[in-house]
Amino acid sequence: MAKAFTPSVITANALLEGDVIYLTAQGWTRDLAQAEVFDDEAIAEDRLIEASAQTDQVVGVYLANVDASSGTPVSTHFREAFRAKGPSNYIHGKQETL
């Protein structure tokens, strides 16, 4: 039996700044809370192809699992949690502006 699809967001790094970014219905955001959550695997794969084609804007596009049960996507793996927030050694990086 095929494994059930886990709710996911599409993430990448911005080409110019290198920042961690997430796909929304309108484009890219730096804030995971604003990311578009995909519950349907086929739709997610289609959007992943579209996003990956935006090579003038982004690098390394992939699907990342999230827990969206609260209505806002939250990373389910610590690696993605650090990407969403920034380094944990002291406050700098993304968390300065979020």
Binding site: L15, L16, T55, T76, F82, N89, H92
Partner: protein
């Protein structure tokens, strides 16, 4: 120290212009990321977890005040106001933007620096003893030969696409401060019958399959060194595995083929290529050696030092811990700790970088070194100047008296920055340092090297830590394995795994139990952690780490 020739200036300018054009073509879409990635890596530019990272070469960790000040300028203008000094004696900028990198490289070139071969499957930045040219136990300064190797290897047409990266370290002293036995090639300057030559060690390395290097030749004459290196790397280039990146390092080549077979192949290759080395390299070496002329040391009163040492316990504690014996009378080697308790190991703010540049110019013959232990060295300071120097260091948070102690931890960037990491390293180092500062045990514990890596690639040298910590991802949770008994010196040893790993919450108490057990187990205060471990073996330390297993067995 070495400064660029006109040839170097032209070469670097052309290379930077080439990369500037490549960046422009990536931004305008003429180059895809797949096409651009190897080009940016050839210029030290990675894309890490949160941002780009530019790795700048500091050859054999040597730089002057002007170069340090320029590194600070670059961090202020194009990064976040700090730099991270690494176990490769380099500096990394964690937040550059792509469009700015060509300007950063041009700014580096202004002070004879670059980022070439700080990435890729090439011969990487050559490292050396961070006390080179100053250490009392030195046979010869290893930096001229390291510089010759750098010039030979930079853009070497045969060695730009090796099976994997290739690291060379050079030491000129009996005591190994350059971890030469854990490099692809380790060189040690030795003397035989009054003649200086090189012991050549190959096939060391850490990472997934840690190995201590083997002696390929116990003595190579100076004029035969470069053709010997060329023969070794040629044999590796041909024989090294390209089918599996984890088996591509020369340590595996040596292990799979045996040192005798490798020696026979290197001998054969050497015989073929030796005639091509007509002595030009030795002429170049003579010129380079002139660039590394020893400073003119002064004669000055020691009264200020003696008074501070007698009357100021803070200065005395720092002097006892952070100074090393210099070859010149009245001088000391100063290690500036970048390991203030609770701070990120290896990070320096731009203000601190400028202060260190000023102090080098004022008190240190304008020389600085970066150690593989992520500290900064002022190699030549007169003891009479030490009280004034210490006062300035204190003012800027640079006077932590912990060199070689439990909080002087090597920690790779780990998952706070690195795209390859499987767990964080830095917060573990921060917490250990903070905990032992709270316990006020650090100086009582004495010499103890803790080294932490956030993945199996072992950039934090955990295998050769007296206590090594390896961060892994266990089912989506950070987990930390402990190894014990590793040694990075001339008595190099790979640490032994102690047992199951610990969660991030449990690792600091585990280290505390381990160290408290050592304090109980040592026969006298002068017996170091490593000596106690070698005397007693793993068992009593394992009992301290896993008390519940002891209870279950009882």
């Amino acid at each position: 120290m070495y400064s660029y020739t006109e040839f170097d200036d032209t070469f670097i300018a052309a290379r930077n212009a080439q990369f500037r054009a490549q960046v422009e073509r990536r931004v305008d879409g003429s180059l895809t990321e797949d096409e651009f990635k190897p080009l940016r890596l050839m210029n030290g530019l990675y894309l890490q977890l949160h941002a780009y990272m530019l790795r700048v070469a500091i050859p054999y960790g040597t730089l002057n005040g002007g170069q340090m000040r320029q590194l600070a300028f670059i961090a202020d203008k194009w990064d976040k106001g700090y730099g991270h000094f690494t176990t490769r004696q380099n500096i990394q900028y964690n937040w550059p933007e792509l469009r700015d990198v060509p300007d950063m490289l041009d700014a580096l070139a202004e002070v004879d620096m670059h980022a070439i071969q700080t990435s890729g499957n090439t011969i990487r930045n050559v490292t050396a003893d961070h006390f080179a040219g100053a250490a009392a136990d030195e046979v010869a300064d290893p930096r001229p030969i390291a510089e010759l190797i750098r010039q030979w290897s930079t853009d070497h047409p045969e060695f730009q696409f090796l099976p994997r990266k290739f690291k060379v370290a050079v030491s000129g002293a009996a005591h190994d401060r350059a971890v030469i036995k854990a490099h692809d090639i380790g060189l040690r300057i030795v003397e035989r019958d009054g003649v200086q030559g090189f012991e050549v060690i190959v096939g060391g390395g850490l990472g997934r399959t840690p190995m201590i290097g083997k002696v390929l030749y116990d003595f190579v004459d100076a004029e035969d060194l470069l053709p010997t290196l060329e023969a070794i790397v040629s044999v590796y280039n041909l024989l090294g595995r390209r089918d599996n990146k984890y088996k591509a390092r020369i340590k595996i080549t040596v292990h799979e083929n045996g040192i005798e077979d490798i020696r026979a192949r290197v001998d054969a290759r050497y015989a073929l290529i030796r005639p091509q080395f007509t002595g030009v390299d030795q002429q170049m070496l003579s010129r380079i050696e002139a660039d590394f002329a020893k400073p003119t040391f002064k004669t000055q009163s020691l009264a200020a030092y003696e008074s501070a040492y007698t009357n100021d316990p803070v200065f005395r504690s720092w002097a006892d811990t952070n100074l090393a014996v210099h070859r010149a009378q009245g001088y000391a080697i100063v290690s500036i700790s970048l390991k203030a308790h609770g701070k990120t190991p290896g990070d320096a703010s731009t203000e601190q970088m400028r202060v260190m540049a000023d102090l080098a110019e004022e008190f240190g013959h304008n020389e600085l070194r970066i150690s593989h232990e992520q500290n900064v060295i002022l190699p030549h300071v007169h003891r009479g100047d030490l009280p004034a120097l210490h006062a300035r260091l204190k003012e800027f948070g640079l006077a932590t008296a912990n060199i070689g102690l439990i909080s002087d931890i090597i920690a790779c960037p780990g998952m706070d920055y690195c795209a390859l990491a499987t767990a964080r390293s830095i917060p573990i180092a921060q917490e250990i340092a903070t905990r032992f500062d709270e316990l006020k045990l650090e100086h009582d514990v004495g010499p103890l090297k803790i080294k932490i890596s956030g993945c199996i690639n072992a950039c934090g040298h955990h295998h050769v830590g007296h206590i090594g910590i390896l961060g892994l991802d266990r089912a989506g949770v950070e987990n930390y394995q402990i190894t014990l008994g590793g040694d990075a010196t001339e008595a190099a040893a790979i640490g032994e795994r102690a047992g199951p790993g610990f969660s991030a919450d449990a690792i600091i108490p585990a280290i505390e139990r381990l160290v408290l057990a050592y304090l109980d187990l040592r026969t006298e205060q002068s017996e170091t952690f490593l000596q106690t471990y070698r005397r007693l073996g793993l068992a009593p330390f394992k009992a301290a780490l896993y008390p519940e297993a002891q209870a279950d067995a009882a």
